[in-house]
């Protein structure tokens, strides 16, 4: 690491020296002229006039005139203007006049699944985000690249943990249970929605959620991410299209030259905000107010410890990426390697990733046959710390860092860790006396052959695979004074394997008949998903060394019995067989029709519903090509689409009557439970997918030669046949069964995306990108009631904060209305000691993103704001720890608890007291870069940059960060918007350099 740093410094020095010596002058003369619009003859104001091949230039004045001093050896001028075709004019004399003609508007291509279309021809609601618009800095998984960048795509990472899981909601949530994330398709291979790494079960400290399954993809390998939002676009993915589809395309080799690109970045992260806790003196004073000075004195450990600071650090992240690429007339290749080594801001936590990727494409037989392959191999290591979702009154690592008596020292005078009791843990001891990591090896790839049968018809066959091996080891030393661990130790070993295979075959046809253009796709797809897990739990260790526990498991002394149990294993295989077709018909370039049909057969459905049919229709009217549209517009198109899609993300085989032996567990007392043979599913031949019907109306527009462009979309999404675990009518062999309910979840929304080129003159440009989306969600025709949002902590057994009920938005808060404290300091509930809907919901109803990009010559600068509004956050952290009762029990609290009028005998029940507005606006990303003139340097490009992430946050939320989503699910019903000792978020500064050879 030190060696690396010194190399980096030398490189920086070199770069800056070269920057200062690069300006050299020659003989000069002056050229002037006028730049006009070729069509109208009007002068163009602010057109760029640059000496070709340099950055020297000027802009035209109010009359379209310019004057520029040019070196004697200059031959041509390059003249450009937004929306016009760039012209290169020879310097024929002292006066060079140029008439520019309005150019073809640059037409982006968007990937739509089994093909790509020009953005202007896309009939559905589709957003493409390319590399230049990606979020920069320390980015672990691909969806973080587009967080806030696309209207209607809401991405919330669960916490600040490196590689934390994320919830991605495209146009709101349509399902009550799990399975609201979109389908991810990487280079044509749809990924399964399962976790590739295990969640944790951390002894008495609670359990934690799995990390993001997309962490294995190196964001630096990604060229573009396209998001299919409406049903007319996603219907091509049928039973997996209901939540939207995210298509990830990786980089290919390009250009005629072989190229080496290297980039390096070094990031520094620090916590943005610690909880404002009492220090030792304040704590003793506050405690004495409840229990008297004598009691306070007996509690005083004599130190003043900031337990949060004890577990936090400045975290360093470094990344190296190198790519070799090139292309010829007949093909291209790109080989890349990446290293990402990230420390978490909590000590001992982190994430490491080593990736290799090989993408290649070669054409044979006069370009009729194309063989292509994209393969990636990733080795990741998650270093976990016991920050959990559901720790009880003892708290997890973070909980203890918040609540532990601040007068206690970390270590006693002998250097031994102070470990107060089996309810109050020393967080430093937790870190030092535990070891928890996950190693995952994952390979994803495909090989395809495409053959042009005729000039209009081609056939493509693609074989894909996704294979992953993951192993998690969590060891807690017998020296850790914690319930169920002390003098015994505890080890969990959990493996997960994924083995998915894909085979797709499809024909593509494209032809023109007079004014009509027809393109079509017809294909077959088969995908198999295999998921295997196994786990063990061990105790009674002879050794106190957590690493030895993991690497020499025979150190568990089984002679006393009950020292090792199989927690369980499972092995499930699912198949998906599909036929699909899409027809695009364009008439006179004005009227474009798209029809899609997919039929999916899935082993997840019952016998009576093996196959589902998912149709869609869309129409686009390119109004801009109609004569009656005023010249004011440079683009205008109206889109309307309708489609039916499904959600088949349901657990394995719920339609056959099956039994399994339940997992074993060693409880805190050391007793072993489990192993009973239990029914896990009933016969239900009617079981099927959830159905989502969506109608979308969109308008694409552009003004001033698309200097201002954008689109507006309005949609209504109705999800029916909700698949839920419902209560069986007792008596029954099991309390629940699965059924499709005739209830509706409605999402209504509006999205607006705008792009404005505010300034585009020589050496200075300013681009503004803005998106905003509003989504309103309601449950209708639902007869049941489901409680979720389980609240943990002392005296909170059975507590919950959210209820699913008809007429409410999903996950609406269901709480006691809090009315302050009475004279005795006991909570007042004006509406009674009962829970009710309080008109608050956790899902933002409004979200926006705003990017400003500037370039000044070689300097570029951009900053990006992301905001979410209209929602509330429930702080389980405050509910569990920041109360007078907790303080009176000798636990630390935030400063606002002191003197808040609460009695130490008050029960802090679940109420609006702990509910806060979640609105926030965040300066998420700011980048400053400098691109060097590489003329005299041995590089083809060289850029240095500085990126800041999470620079500023405007919010009323009193917790660590309002973007938080701890998993507080109850009975399989997920929760949203609850904060419980979440891993804190960091502010990160990254320095980096990109070099190309």
């Amino acid at each position: 690491m030190e060696k690396l740093n010194s190399h980096f410094l030398k490189l920086c020095l070199f770069i800056f020296v070269s920057f200062f010596v690069s300006s050299v002058s020659f003989g000069q003369r002056t050229v002037s002229g006028t730049i006009t619009d070729a069509e109208t003859g009007d002068p163009l104001i602010g057109a760029n006039v640059i000496i070709t091949g340099t950055s020297t230039g000027t802009i035209t004045d109010l009359d379209g005139n310019y004057s520029l001093s040019v070196p004697d050896d200059a031959v041509t001028l390059s003249i450009s203007y937004t929306g016009f075709t760039e012209q290169i004019a020879p310097i024929t004399g002292d006066v060079v006049n140029v008439a520019l003609s309005a150019g073809q508007i640059l037409d982006e291509v968007v990937v739509v699944g089994y093909g790509a279309v020009k953005k202007s021809d896309a009939t559905g609601a589709v957003v493409g985000v390319t590399e230049e618009d990606f979020n920069k800095g320390v980015v672990v998984s691909p969806e973080q690249l587009i967080q806030g960048r696309a209207a209607g795509v809401q991405i919330t990472t669960a916490s600040g943990e490196p590689g934390a899981g994320a919830s991605i909601r495209i146009r709101g949530a349509g399902s009550i249970r799990n399975g609201n994330n979109p389908l991810f398709v990487v280079d044509g291979v749809p990924l399964n929605g399962s976790s590739s790494t295990g969640g944790g079960n951390d002894a008495g400290l609670g359990s934690s959620s799995a990390r993001n399954p997309l962490n294995f993809l190196n964001p630096q390998d990604i060229a573009s991410i396209d998001i299919l939002k409406d049903a007319s676009a996603t219907a091509i993915y049928g039973s997996r299209g209901a939540n939207g589809v995210v298509l990830i395309t990786t980089k290919k080799g390009s250009g005629q030259k072989n190229k080496i690109d290297y980039s390096f970045n070094l990031g520094f992260s620090n916590i943005t905000k610690k909880y404002d806790l009492l220090n030792a003196d304040e704590f003793l004073d506050a405690y004495a107010q409840f229990n008297g000075q004598a009691a306070a004195a007996s509690l005083d450990g004599g130190a003043d410890t900031d337990w949060q600071a004890e577990i936090l650090r400045t975290a360093i992240t470094q990344g190296h990426n190198i790519a070799f690429s090139g292309s010829t007339d007949a093909g291209n290749y790109r080989l890349s390697f990446g290293v990402h080594d990230q420390e978490g801001i909590i000590k001992e936590s982190g994430f490491q990733r080593y990736t290799g990727r090989f993408n290649a494409e070669q054409r044979f037989l006069n370009d009729r046959l194309t063989i292509a392959s994209q393969i990636t191999l990733a080795q990741t290591k998650d270093d976990n710390v016991p920050i959990t979702d559901n720790s009880g009154f003892r708290g997890d690592l973070m909980g203890n860092a918040l609540k532990l008596n601040p007068t206690l020292p970390v270590r006693d005078s002998n250097g031994e860790l102070v470990q107060p009791s089996q309810t109050e843990y020393n967080p430093v001891a937790i870190l030092e006396l535990s070891e928890d990591y996950t190693n995952t090896l994952r390979g994803l790839g495909n090989v395809s052959a495409e053959y042009k049968l005729t000039n209009n018809l081609s056939f493509k066959s693609l074989i894909g695979f996704d294979r992953s091996f993951s192993s998690r080891n969590s060891a807690f030393s017998r020296d850790l004074n914690a319930a169920g661990i002390i003098n015994k130790g505890r080890l969990y070993m959990n493996d997960i394997q994924i083995n998915d295979r894909l085979w797709e075959n499809y024909f593509s046809y494209n032809n023109t008949f007079g004014a009509a253009n027809l393109s079509a796709v017809l294909g077959y797809s088969y995908q198999q998903f295999n998921y295997y897990t196994k786990g063990f739990e061990m105790t009674n260790f002879n050794t106190a060394d957590p690493l030895l526990m993991i690497n020499n498991i025979a150190s568990a002394n089984i002679s006393g019995g009950n020292a090792i149990v199989p927690t369980n294993s499972s092995n499930t295989t699912d198949e998906l067989q599909s036929y699909f077709t899409r027809v695009n018909l364009g008439i006179a370039d004005k009227y474009i029709f798209t029809g899609t049909l997919r039929t999916d057969g899935s082993t997840r459905f019952g016998d009576n519903n093996r196959y589902g049919l998912f149709p869609s229709l869309a129409f686009k009217w390119r109004l801009i090509d109609e004569a009656f549209i005023p010249d004011l517009f440079s683009d205008l198109g109206l889109r309307i689409g309708y489609g039916v899609t499904g959600n088949q993300e349901i657990p394995y085989n719920l339609f056959q009557p099956r039994s399994r032996y339940s997992g074993w567990d060693i409880n805190e007392g050391g007793d072993v439970n489990g192993g009973g043979l239990n029914a896990v599913s009933f016969a239900n031949d009617d079981l099927k997918w959830e159905t989502t019907t969506q109608i979308n109306l969109g308008l694409d527009f552009g003004f001033m030669n698309n200097r201002l462009s954008g689109s507006v979309d309005v949609y209504r999404k109705n999800t029916n046949d909700l698949l839920l675990q419902i209560v069986s009518a007792q008596p029954s062999p099991q309390p629940f069964r699965w059924e499709n309910l005739d209830a509706d979840i409605i999402n209504n929304g509006v999205e607006l995306a705008l792009n404005y080129v505010a300034v585009d003159i020589s050496k200075f440009s300013w681009d503004i990108n803005f998106n905003i989306a509003r989504n309103i969600n309601t449950i209708q025709n639902y007869k049941g009631i489901n409680d979720t949002g389980g609240i943990n902590g002392q005296g909170l057994t059975g507590a919950f904060a959210q209820r699913i009920q008809e007429g409410q938005p999903l996950y609406a808060f269901f709480l006691r209305e809090f009315g302050g404290f009475d004279a005795e300091g006991i909570s007042i509930y004006p509406n009674g000691d009962k829970q009710e809907f309080v008109g608050a919901q956790p899902i933002p109803t409004l979200s926006l993103g705003l990017t400003n990009s500037f370039s000044f010559g070689n300097v570029d600068f951009n900053f990006f704001f992301n905001g979410q509004f209209g929602h509330h956050i429930y702080s389980n952290t405050a509910n569990a720890f920041f109360t007078a009762g907790s303080l009176a029990n000798g636990r630390n609290v935030t400063k606002d608890v002191v003197g808040n009028g609460e009695s130490n005998l008050n029960a802090p029940d679940v109420s609006t007291r702990f509910l806060e507005r979640g609105d926030f606006l965040r300066l998420q990303n700011a980048n400053l870069g400098y691109t060097f003139e590489t003329g005299s340097l041995p590089f083809s490009n060289l850029r240095v940059f500085l990126t800041g992430q999470n620079l500023f946050l405007w919010t009323q939320y009193s917790g660590q960060d309002p973007e938080v989503d701890t998993n507080k699910s109850l009975n399989g019903i997920p929760s949203v918007g609850i904060d419980y000792t979440a891993y804190p978020r960091a502010r990160t500064f990254t320095l980096g350099v990109n070099v190309g050879f």
Binding site: T572, R610, G676, A888, G890
Partner: protein, 498 residues
């Protein structure tokens, strides 16, 4: 050109062949679970294994919630105070004690699901070809689970094993359920083994069936009442049956134990009729002991001062002082723990959170209780606890006394029987016996054993008031049908009042 066409053709062929070969019938055999072939019908299991599993289900009664909570927290013998940040638990305990629970109460749902799920399993045993004794045991267990369901909820849904999950179970009225349960027990008793007293009496026996039959007939006036809130009339014929069944228990070799707290240890006792081998009595001490005692408890439930004051010295049942001899758990007394508490070496304990000396007090509020409030109760002692007891002879003995009091004929008088028990407990004899005296005596003998509610209902005291309980809704003699159960089975009708 010909060559090209040939190539085209061959590619099409390859494409089509591959299409055919890749087609799947989408039948994947599960490799990690046992599939019951033949669709939705009932598949018989091994009756012995199923029976063993059913006995394990009895462990659910040892929890401090669900059946136990519904049987005790709602009465005058137990209070679940909210102690600052402890035991708020979303109000589940407070609402039980204050009698303002509703149909979404988690203990109500928990008991409903647990009892009916367990009852269904006994149906599976009976349908799996058991031998005569296994069938008798299954019928006894079914009666045991259904008895509790009938007692708590009145109506009892019933599903045959041949009825799949799509069938809405039929619902037996309380009166029909009573007849069903009595019939099960009467059918079972002949084939049940005759087992004498034992501290590990965890198998169904004749005595256990007699005990449950006695209990059913003693409460028949309640269960057969046209209005669940009463008035209840007790027929002499039923009372005679109670007496008959209790005498049958005695003839199986059961009698009163002279050492009251011996009953709850692992030692032999002539009283123990039926226990659970699954689970342990641990929750009974954990739910009441303070966290600074050893074992470190949850500092939860206490008894009410008025209940404690129903006792008069001398009475063995009031308790025993702790050993204070340095032995494991030697700091914990038996019976009612009041005043200063000590560690096993006899040193006074201090509350580590408040740093005050640990003295349990008589007074205890329902909400905002300090950590030391309330008298704690220990029947099973952590040093020597035996199996968790469902049925013991003293209860039967008092049932007989009550049956005589309510018009049954016997050579002994109710007062004689009560005084016989009091003598065994070292208490002074009573000179007369009112109904209230009988209820009080049952309380003194059977406190915290899980059945106070049934007694208070039978004596018409359940809608009365006591400390921190002012609600006098008489409809609360029945619990509501849980809201989720109601929406899952249209044959259920919510109990009156809810």
């Amino acid at each position: 050109m010909i060559k090209f066409k040939y190539l085209t053709f061959s590619f099409l062929l390859v494409g089509l062949i591959s299409l055919n070969y890749s087609c799947t019938d989408l039948n994947v055999d599960p490799t990690d679970s046992i599939v019951s072939e033949g669709g939705s019908g009932f598949i018989p299991g091994d009756p012995g294994e199923l029976l063993a599993s059913s006995y394990k289900d009895l462990g659910s009664f040892t929890d401090q919630n669900n059946m136990y909570a519904l049987g005790t927290h709602v009465t005058d013998e137990m209070i679940p105070p909210t102690r600052g940040v402890d035991w708020g638990d979303n109000g589940v305990w407070r609402t039980l004690h204050a009698h303002n629970w509703d149909a979404t109460h988690t203990s109500v749902l928990g008991a409903w699901n647990s009892l009916h799920g367990n009852a269904y399993k006994t149906n599976e045993i009976i349908a799996s070809g058991p031998n005569a004794e296994q069938e008798a045991e299954a019928r006894f267990l079914r009666a045991f689970f259904m008895y509790h369901a009938m007692d708590f909820f009145g109506q009892v849904p019933f599903r045959e094993v041949t009825e799949g999950p799509d069938v809405d179970p039929k619902v037996l009225s309380r009166s029909e359920a009573f007849d069903f349960i009595v019939n099960d027990l009467e059918t079972a008793v002949a084939n049940l083994p005759s087992i004498g007293p034992s501290a590990t009496n965890s198998r169904a026996s004749k005595a256990a069936a007699y005990f449950l039959l006695a209990k059913l007939h003693l409460n028949k006036g309640v269960y057969k009442a046209s209005d669940p809130v009463g008035p209840y009339s007790f027929e002499a014929a039923d009372m005679n049956k109670v007496i008959e069944y209790v005498d049958l228990i005695a003839s199986e070799g059961y009698s009163l134990d002279a050492d009251y707290f011996n009953i709850f240890t692992a030692n032999a006792s002539p009283e123990i009729i039926f226990t659970s081998a699954e689970g342990s009595a641990q929750n009974r001490w954990m739910m009441t002991l303070h966290y600074d005692q050893n074992p470190s408890g949850w500092n939860g439930f206490a008894t009410l001062a008025d209940f404690y004051n129903k006792f008069q010295e001398p009475d063995q049942r009031l308790g025993q002082d702790p050993a204070l001899d340095g032995s494991d758990f030697g700091g914990i007394g038996r019976g009612f723990l009041k005043g200063q508490q000590y560690n096993s070496n006899g040193e006074p304990l201090t509350d580590t959170r408040s740093q005050k000396s640990l003295q349990f007090t008589e007074d205890v509020p329902l909400a905002g209780a300090a950590t030391e409030k309330g008298i704690r109760v220990i029947k099973y002692h952590p040093a020597d606890a035996g199996q968790y007891i469902f049925m013991r002879y003293a209860d039967a003995h008092l049932m007989k006394a009550e049956a005589i009091q309510r018009g049954g004929s016997s050579s002994s008088s109710a007062l004689d029987l009560v005084n016989e028990l009091r003598e065994a407990r070292g208490a002074n004899a009573l000179s007369s016996l009112s109904d209230d005296d009988l209820l009080d005596e049952r309380g003194r003998e059977l406190y915290w054993e899980g059945y106070r509610r049934t007694d208070m209902v039978r004596f018409g005291k359940f809608a009365g008031t006591w400390h921190e309980k002012s609600v006098t809704d008489d409809f609360r003699v029945l619990y509501p049908i849980p809201a989720t159960a109601l929406s899952s089975n249209p044959n259920l009708v919510q109990n009156p009042g809810y």
